[in-house]
Symmetry: C2
Subunit: 243 residues, 2 copies
């Protein structure tokens, strides 16, 4: 990991950009800290540039609660090299949607699984590097982004102590089996009227998670319209589990 | 309404018992108040004596947020005269459950609709009397209890400004149509692994509610195991909407 820049935001939060291999990333740390702080990994759908304002808002909120937070560009997104098989699946998905056809399980598998296979080891490598920095400690939470990545990471990475998952993307059938192996406390956000999302699949996935503590918060407002109070509730979940 | 007793609880909350016709009720007011406070009607499944500890806990929490709260015994419950047709439906329901059969829509209608028809005007009469007391103002929230009663009350009673509904009881088919006419902000609690509850019916009812702001909080823990953090979230919902 190479730290490439540092600037102080108006509320004292320090934003550090870094690269990890060919992936750009951002780390936000609270302005005034005493001792190592817990870390929240901020998931997203890919495209850090486009997502920057919302990620920064989530990072400021995390910092206000005393957490560092960090994110890394997804494989095949932003300025990173495209993954041809994923691009092909994405084109198939768009064709299906444009034709008003359902997006078949085969397309979903080809679209999501290669991304999960690549992204999870990168989040783990980022975790290695971030936890080695002075001032960043545990426990670690994962928040948002592609729900299949969060699910796999919660299974594969024992340093993840709690996760806020956003049920807003296609879910490969294989992930339902992985979901049963998740045991950390989960807080799942579902936008009830998200037209691009399969609500029943989201409910089935919530049902499948093996965690003893799991909570589903469903709200109105469309895919990008998560209400402020729902974000606040997710923040309280992390305060409960990471402090 | 006849106030029949008054005692001060250890945290300063004042508990007033009353009767309204043949129905006993309880009003809790914050110990130290300046000016009229909002009111939360505390729903329950019937049987005030049995429910007293949990109702008192909810009342103390409401008082800590600066709210008065009140409850009234349901028709046919506690020491009130039984309603023969409802008792008959209840016996039919128990027979069905004991035989491992589904509880048919006809039984649900006979069990719940007469209760809704009788209870809602009583809550409205209680509201008339409670809002006439010094120190009790608006806005008014309704919380918990039989979800069909809360649904009808939210439609029929314009003084209800927001409702926390507990999806934990059988829902007559006719209530889905009424649900579409609900417009106040709703916070719906669902115990995901409540074996005595029809989860799909609860999700369908949530979907049917006409409210622009509606939130579903699903948690683990069985019918009576609503986690403390879920109660706290419901309390914050009322603070957002009644203050």
């Amino acid at each position: 990991m190479h730290l490439t820049s540092e600037r102080r935001l108006d509320d004292g939060v320090i934003e550090h950009t870094f690269t990890l291999g060919d992936a750009p990333g951002v780390l936000w740390t609270p302005g005034s800290v005493s001792g190592p702080v817990p870390l929240i990994l901020l998931g997203h759908p890919g495209g850090l540039g486009r997502m920057q304002p919302r990620l920064e808002g989530r990072a400021r909120s995390a910092a206000a609660d005393g957490f560092a937070s960090a994110t890394v560009e997804l494989p095949g997104s932003g300025d990173r090299p495209r993954i041809p098989a994923v691009e092909e699946a994405r084109a198939d998905m768009r064709r299906a949607l444009a034709a008003g056809e359902p997006v078949g399980g085969d397309i979903v598998d080809r679209l999501v699984l290669p991304l999960v296979d690549r992204a999870v080891p990168e989040w783990q490598a980022a975790l290695d590097a971030l936890l080695a920095l002075p001032g960043i400690g545990g426990p670690v939470g994962y928040s948002g982004g592609v729900i299949s990545i969060g699910t796999r990471l919660a299974v594969a990475e024992p340093r993840i102590a709690a996760a806020v998952l956003f049920a807003g993307s296609f879910v490969p059938r294989a992930m339902f089996e992985e979901a049963r192996r998740v045991t950390v406390p989960l807080h799942v956000l579902l936008q009830w009227d998200d037209e691009g999302n399969d609500r029943q699949a989201a409910l089935d996935l919530f049902d499948a998670f093996g965690s003893k503590e799991k909570t589903l918060h469903a709200n109105m407002g469309g895919h990008t319209g998560v209400p402020q109070f729902a974000g606040d509730a997710a923040a309280r979940f992390f305060v409960r589990h990471l402090k």
